[in-house]
Symmetry: C2
Subunit: 175 residues, 2 copies
């Protein structure tokens, strides 16, 4: 039984690599023939390099959705909330669709920490998902309920960051 149960994986913490690791994981899954869906919750800067590469390279095997593109977390709360709820509705459809082997919910934790969607509603949906479906959740400050429900939780801790040294963000590396 254990081998047919989809895993719930969380990449959290204040360091780099949460989303990047999730995309790497998606790439790994694609390499093994799995069907993958990625939903990014509210990224302000348009498609990242990973997103561009994934969608260009694997059009039939990776579905990428940007929920509320063009908005950022710093905008008006009602706009943020509307975009987040739209993304969450999309996540619900994709999770229950039984089409995918892996769904990445990028920056999902903010839905909870910003009080946009209750943790319990999210966990209820996870419990309803097709048995084989793996979920990867990213975002800072994963809540206790998420962590308890997850199988694998990794904290990305920043030990050293280039902005501390006055280095600016670089295309292809930082975004």
């Amino acid at each position: 039984m254990a081998t047919t149960q989809g895993l719930v994986i969380i990449n959290t913490g204040h360091g780099k690599g949460k989303t990047t690791a999730a995309f790497g994981q998606a790439l790994r899954a694609v390499g093994q023939g799995l069907q993958v869906c990625i939903i990014q919750f509210i990224k302000g800067e348009g498609k990242s390099g990973e997103a561009l590469a994934v969608t260009a390279a694997f059009p039939g095997q990776v579905a990428l959705h940007l929920a509320g593109t063009g908005f950022t977390w710093k905008q008006d709360r009602e706009i943020v909330k509307a975009a987040a709820l739209e993304g969450w509705q999309l996540a619900r459809e994709k999770i229950l669709s039984n089409v995918y082997d892996l769904i990445v919910l990028d920056e999902l934790t903010y839905l909870i920490t910003l009080d946009l969607v209750p943790e319990e509603e999210i966990l209820d949906l996870f419990r309803e998902r097709p048995q084989r479906l793996h979920l990867i959740i990213t975002g800072r400050d994963a809540t206790q309920g998420l962590i308890e429900y997850a199988d694998l939780v990794t904290e990305m801790r920043a030990i050293k960051h280039p902005f501390q040294k006055g280095v600016t963000a670089q295309k292809g590396i930082e975004f």
Copy 2:
């Protein structure tokens, strides 16, 4: 000057996601049009899902080299050392070739922690590299000299791991 200087990025720690994040970073770089080389030091299990996907999808833009494929860290020290040194020689050629914008040195830290290559020799090569070249280094227990030299260091900490719950490794997810 700061924006033309390649970054040195380290993913370390005992948690998951070090290599996966590095592959995600490589994917991001490819998406932005950078030339990428990945050298994996001594992986025993053949090509991982990420490696399969990357090489299949971006044959002209990502060069992947498995140094000492078929060997593991648990084998005879002389075999391990020969494979590691071969990989290190390849890394030297690629780093100095001035062909790449990003080189991933996957599991490089073991060269130092297993006393196969001196830390100072590695740092000397890094200092000699083309100015624009970004490096990503992965592996447990990054040494102090590497951390001091790096621009960005992230520690992946395991908060929860599925093997603790009796779940076995799954194709496309764990490898």
